[in-house]
Symmetry: C2
Subunit: 514 residues, 2 copies
């Protein structure tokens, strides 16, 4: 997209119109600089239909902070807002309001506490808490949600794909069917969440990971059209990339043409002093073909050659393929485990679109406004208790039990310090009368920590590897039942007694017309 249009559509005006109309209303009422708190959280883990997530992987924070830092209100943005007219023909935005907006400079005036990127997060508990001037924090909502919802969605999917790969390398290939430039955020999230590498050249370089890719069917077609056939294409590839030779074997017929031609070229490559890397299968019954290919590669003297699978893969498809391989392998005289160990997974469209659950319903809810000398909690009353945010200024903690496993995330009041690790009474976040006492606590960790304060980053930028390590460390401390791909156990997210009482009081107050 040309830079001029990008500045208009990806800068300060990358927001929903109602954020601006509300901001002006706050300005007119003199409320615009009141300090407000908004919580970011989601209510439902991704549910892909036949399989479901029991946790999510938080991603998108650094790119969000980059956007906040880079975004300034430009004269052109103000001119566009000046050009808006009401039905009556009057200007929609008052010059005084626009002048105030211009004076803020942008979003630098907010402070953010958040879970560090790459960590496992759960529903209902705040993942990020924004504090800042009401009108500015309100305008920020759209971009905030946009940056975090999509990356968290894709990182979660990637973590599941990686679990299904059981240690086999996962390559992210989704660009061509990803959502315009948003696919770059998808690639980054996939790399945080579980992909080992990506085909996306620009983003791979931006995050410091070697991009991956070999060749497509079109290369084989080209050599066929020139009369040199599939083997001509394979020879050209092996000659150009003798140490990285992965051949795509399904352009004509995998078992009758592709693999035999690949074996011929692999032998020639070995004679010239190079070892081939492997083959790629991109169509047909991948499990069956992987077994047959393994046998043919073994018999041909290439038991180390890798088998890259691609074509509509996701965590469930991969799980099924692995099961089928274990079942089918003995019939072809192959060790099924050995086949599994030589697999690499190319996962594309279904990863970057989070197939089956294409959007995370993360929300950004007003929970408190500054009062005379303390936070005044705010609440949305709903007929659906699960839709009510947890009111007030809060802190978020993760409780580990004596097995070293995370047993609950706990939301406390802003003035409660749980770090002493004493026994806790925990209350259900939305239902009344459900509580439990936890007494086998080994350790309590504060989960939501300061990351940004009025233009300053409070944590050093983490590398992608650090984010991945956070994820792996959190997964290690998560109950295996919660990690299960299908029908996972429910992880406990609870409130302390004081937060529960506040929630109850506010509901009663509002329902009685307070």
């Amino acid at each position: 997209m040309p830079r001029q249009r990008r500045d208009l559509t990806e800068g300060f005006l990358f927001t929903d119109q109602y954020q601006l109309t509300m901001a002006q209303l706050y300005w007119k009422r003199g409320l615009h600089e009141r300090t407000a708190q908004f919580d970011y959280f989601f209510r439902r883990y991704p549910d892909y239909g036949r399989h479901q997530a029991g946790y999510a992987v938080f991603a998108g924070l650094e790119w969000l902070l980059d956007w906040i830092d880079a975004t300034r209100i430009r004269d052109e943005d103000l001119d566009r807002l000046r050009s808006q007219r009401c039905a009556s023909g009057r200007r929609r935005f008052d010059e005084g309001f626009l002048g105030w907006l211009a004076g803020t400079g942008g979003f630098g005036g907010v402070s953010i506490r958040a879970v560090p990127e790459g960590r496992i997060v759960h529903r209902h508990a705040p993942i990020a808490i924004v504090e800042g001037p009401l009108a500015i924090a309100q305008i920020l909502e759209t971009s905030f949600l946009n940056h975090l919802n999509y990356q968290t969605l894709v990182a979660t999917k990637a973590s599941r794909v990686a679990e299904s790969a059981a240690g086999g390398p996962v390559l992210e290939f989704g660009m061509r069917r990803g959502p315009d430039t948003g696919t770059n955020a998808g690639t980054r999230a996939a790399l945080i969440g579980g992909a080992d590498a990506s085909s996306n050249v620009g983003v791979s370089h931006a995050v410091g990971i070697d991009p991956q890719g070999t060749h497509a069917h079109s290369m084989v077609q080209l050599f066929m059209a020139m009369g040199e056939g599939e083997i001509g294409a394979f020879r050209a590839y092996a000659e150009t990339y003798p140490d990285e030779c992965v051949l795509l074997v399904d352009t004509i017929n995998t078992l009758e043409s592709g693999i035999p031609n690949a074996l011929t070229v692999f032998r020639e490559l070995r004679e010239s002093g190079h070892e081939p890397v492997g083959i790629r299968l991109d169509s047909g019954d991948l499990a069956h073909l992987a077994v047959r290919a393994a046998r043919m590669l073994d018999d041909g003297g290439f038991p180390e050659a890798r088998i890259v699978l691609s074509s509509e893969l996701d965590e469930l498809a991969m799980w099924q393929i692995r099961a089928q391989i274990i079942e089918e392998a003995p019939r072809y005289g192959v060790d099924g485990d050995a086949v599994l160990h030589r697999l690499t997974y190319g996962v594309g469209t279904r990863l970057v679109t989070s197939h089956g659950f294409p959007s995370l319903g993360g929300v950004y809810k007003l929970v408190a406004i500054d009062g005379a000398d303390e936070w005044v909690p705010a609440m949305k009353i709903s007929d659906t208790p699960e839709k009510m945010p947890i009111p007030g200024d809060k802190r978020v903690w993760r409780v580990y039990d004596d097995r070293g496993l995370a047993t609950a995330d706990v939301v406390s009041g802003g003035d409660e310090d749980l770090s002493s690790g004493d026994d806790l009474d925990l209350y259900h976040p939305h239902r009344e009368g459900i509580m439990r006492s936890v007494d086998n606590i080994e350790n309590i960790e504060e989960l939501v920590v300061p990351v940004y304060r009025r233009g300053q980053r409070l944590l050093p930028d983490a590398s992608l590897d650090e984010m991945r390590e956070r994820r792996l460390a959190d997964l290690d401390r998560l109950d295996p039942g919660v990690r299960r791909l299908v029908n996972p156990h429910v992880y406990h997210v609870s409130l302390t007694g004081s937060v529960k009482r506040l929630q109850r009081d506010l509901i009663e107050q509002e329902r009685s017309g307070g």
Copy 2:
């Protein structure tokens, strides 16, 4: 995202790694400047599960051309490619290849024929045809697919939503759960495909459409936290926007609090000389609440007040809501048709994520390479006949019958001119022995037309309104059975006899080891 990273990730390196490895191979073999043709087409209409599309709306072309025009190979891009190393430690990309790449400047050397944006398109037939130096046209593939697949997917969904709205205004609200900055392309596509306006401020201004939005629950919560209650929020809104007053009535309780408070404020507004616009319902049983709201607004003296519905809407949900309204309305003494006529639809997440079918499988396939004095057709042989592209240099036509309806899209050879409108023998694109003769032809129109030639736009940029008019004109000439939301009729896409013969010859040639 900071500009520096954006230049790296959204510029020349916005591609898959294998495009670059193939391009270098072509360079090493002296094939890089051979002129090649690639077809862009899709094989499956969106199938959302319980409902399916029988057509698609083409979108994304102008932003793709903008990207092509704006994208230059920068020194930093070359430096990144220089930094890549093979497993052996050698540089992956030869300096000679990088020098050649730099010399091309970018993608300006390609030519593109395409269907104009906003038009209805069908599976299998080429929607766009790229002609250019092999290596450059190959590198372009990823961005080409990325730009066209997502916008065509969303424009198609928007067209269905608009059909379901049956003339009622549709507002696109999807930013917050859209895919990072890609959501901007989604907004644009929605506006081309059927949305009347959007909440997306930046994109609305970029395309010249007034952005839409009123207020969120948070504004009501704020006034509640300040002790002024829901009615305080409504009064503040009416005072600030007296001529655009739409009130969100479900923060506490729609029927017992929201609508009564809205009516009070509407009466005050009228007394001060302004007419309210309406209310918005964002939760609960929207059909039931719309009927009840209509009755309350009628009884309160506001029969003209609009009812805006939002919350997880898509074409099927809207269809069901409309049916339920017709059924429920009489029970509350309301005219169901009158309720339908006052509805406005806010469609968000399910539109920009194309709920149920989150990616269009558009592909970009090599179909021909320049020969001594004519195009040499290229083909991918597959066990699935539907996966084979139509080989060779081609033209695409739309045939209208004597009812004025489009009856088939026809793919001819590049040297065939069907515009004379004679009787045609049409062949099934993938199955043998299926043909039909068409003799009631009124008109034949060439569908894929030159749009870009080596850096020059060949069509004037169309306004969004022109694109919408193209869509509406095409829909008018489409069989209503093909437009049906569920189980649509199959639209015919056919080949001329000469293309069918070429396809058959190539398959035989390749299968016999040619």
